[in-house]
Symmetry: C2
Subunit: 269 residues, 2 copies
Amino acid sequence: MHIEKLVEQIKKKKSFLCVGLDVDIDKIPTHLKDLEDPIFEFNKAIIEATQSYAVAYKPNIAFYEAYGIQGWKSLEKTIQYVNKHYPEIFTIADAKRGDIGNTSTRYAKAFLESMNFDSITIAPYMGKDSVEPFLAFENKHAILLALTSNEGASDFQFSEKEEKQLFEQVIETSQTWKNAERLMYVVGATKATHFKKIRAIAPHQFLLVPGVGAQGGSLQEVCRFGLTKDIGLLINSSRGIIYASNQKDFAEKAGLKAKELQEEMATYL
Amino acid sequence: MHIEKLVEQIKKKKSFLCVGLDVDIDKIPTHLKDLEDPIFEFNKAIIEATQSYAVAYKPNIAFYEAYGIQGWKSLEKTIQYVNKHYPEIFTIADAKRGDIGNTSTRYAKAFLESMNFDSITIAPYMGKDSVEPFLAFENKHAILLALTSNEGASDFQFSEKEEKQLFEQVIETSQTWKNAERLMYVVGATKATHFKKIRAIAPHQFLLVPGVGAQGGSLQEVCRFGLTKDIGLLINSSRGIIYASNQKDFAEKAGLKAKELQEEMATYL
């Protein structure tokens, strides 16, 4: 998807909400468990209930990989469903891949070509030639981990070199790579004060922000420092939406949660 | 697998060779392509031909993921085949995963429990809580990226903080994590001089060394600085072995290449 289409959709829906599809079979309503593919059925219902309020869906690949071949089937059906019924919605494979060039090319093809996701999250540790293969596809995007919202973020991401912390180095350096205009960054919302620093070095890029809600980040704070004239933010919520209820009304409740977030977002636009 | 079993096998075989199973369907002999599962048949033949000279097998997960569900089937059959016929051989899922805690737990279960690999390679960028879930399994190991052998390694891995480069910080810090005795590290062989530095901070840990051969590293140099009294090295070779021939004699030629490397290794033990 071209970035303009994403911006267009954000403006139309007055939303920059991404719904994280981290589906744990132990947490979905019991009445779905007898169906042939409970995870897909769950996703389908969540997508139907939230699609007017969300501009992106982000399956967390680990949750599918954990179920082996059946999990991959559920994932493929989910992405096909979104691409078929809601082609205007941006899709993110939250896979955090990254390896030497020829290997990254394989991952890139799997997610961006065969499965036809619009984007994939990438780990930066191995540098340029591990990331560039994900940038080689027109209208596709690599979302590079910069500053994450977990506790372990403090282990290495703040290491300094010439007064620049590692997450800043990652953002700066990656902008010199081939097709860098297809890059976005993961920036954890629990560190809203860092958005100012990041916008100084990445003034226009889209930032994918996990950690609003359950992980304690403030949407208002993130918007204050992170919004650009083309919005430039995708705010992810997973558990807060998809597990709003584990009863028969799960989809309805998920829709209400998504609507609530969309309405708050509209006030910041 | 307990580390002692690995050491025992290394001493018995006089080899610390790991064979990388990076199987590209375009590179395997044409006579295999009409079989039901060409990738598995290729792996089976390679394993049979090299198992007396190798102590570890390392499927590169990207190569399987690239073929979707069929690829996962080939991967599962391959690991089951090794575990059934050669349970003494150490297995490595070269997956380079890493995510927030609950997500890493999913990846860990998929590879270390469901598929029953002995170990998995992990990216360190997200820190402690992204790695510890992989260390929670008895007799299983997480192999953390420290210094990689690709060009992009220079982008971030040498960033300095208080005179320590990032790859040194990764090794030092990770040793304070829970169950750190189950850690190993990826150290690229093209940087043999760095082995001295690494052995100063990780004197006993096993190092998985890619990049000998095709990528230009010298086995002798690596052994000079990397060997410990319990060996402490696994040297990976992928393309140099598995694509030694693309004719009907591919397995035989792979066996000869593996034997050659094993014989060189024996001289350093």
